[in-house]
Amino acid sequence: MIDFHLDRRSGVSTYVQLVQQVKHALRLGLLKPGDRLPTATEVVAALAINPNTVLKAYRELEREGLVSARPGLGTFVERTLGQASPVDRARLRRQLTGWVRSAYAAGMVREDVEALFTAAIRDAAQEGVA
């Protein structure tokens, strides 16, 4: 199950935030195929937002083939995001956490780490890896 939250100052529209949070959870393996998303009523009761916003987010996810609505039952996850196997993902996450720790140990702050990470993604893209 996923707990949605809202960042009201982000400037990102509410329905986009919901879509991003589901995708994020899929990438991290927090949501798996077969899992049920919370009903519109459940989301609305927790976040105090318009029910149509939730339905719009779920339609978008359905359009992308990530979830499907089963009438009377709910909305279920169809497939996951991210190509790597769970084992690879766990290993890479462990390695990256180790790397982040050594960056902090070297005196970096969060913004330095993020900048370096973004730069590394760009470097790899230029080499044609990704």
Binding site: T41, V44, A45, A46, A48, N50, N52
Partner: protein
Amino acid sequence: MSSAVEAIDLGRRYRRTWALRGCSLALPKGRVIALVGPNGAGKSTLLNLTAGLLRPSEGGLRLFGEPLSARPDTLAQVAYMAQDTALYPTFTVTDLLTFGRRLNPGWDDPWARDRLARLRLPTDVPAGRLSGGQRAQVALVLALAKRPRLLLLDEPLASLDPVARHDVMALLMETVAQSGMTVLLSSHIISDLAETCDWLVAINQGRVQVSGDIDELLETHKLIVGPREALDTLPERLPVVAQTVNGRQASVLARVSGHTVGPAWTVRDASLDELVLNYLRRPESSALPGPTRQRERSAS
């Protein structure tokens, strides 16, 4: 499919002053409709007319296709929570429930009791001893227990702290999700409306200025920012809602559809606050669906 509320040339006069005039509106069913406008714009008058508490001085109103004047029982489908929620202060919440049950044929007592319990609201205390937030929640539960098709709320959030505001709106949105009722609520706090409402009605100086789907309004309106010298390079036909000049910078809110502006200008999305404020500052601007579009909409 008929509208939830349809006003045709609706007007209300107090002695010589028109509080509302020439108001023509079609509000679709199942929407959460924000009614905004400055103090004295006619918001409460429109709500009181819709609730049947005031008679129009001219024009008329239809609720779910039925003329309000001809069918008084149409009002059984409407619940109204007025400003400064009037709960009899010496009545306990249980008394108020009994009162509601005796007066309203469609009253859902089990639902009301379940809600009050879930909100942890005491039922044996006189309403006058509840906090402002608790009173608003009790008043909302009582209004909802009538199982209305149309719920009218006049400034439901005005006197509430942020936690109570969230709880009241969460209860309201949950009930909307379950029942599909139409809600028309007036408020000054536009940032709260952005999350909860999907249709905007702005009235100003007794006239309707804007009525439309909020997503659609935000998609079609853009803020165009650039140097003030460049103002005369903007396309002549650009439908400008309002423009402000601040030092060397000019900002223009315009309805953009396929217009291109010069490289001197930056175009960005407008927030709901910006949209509403720009319209209310320029009472002569309006964004209303033309009669043809309105007909198409109600036919779909």
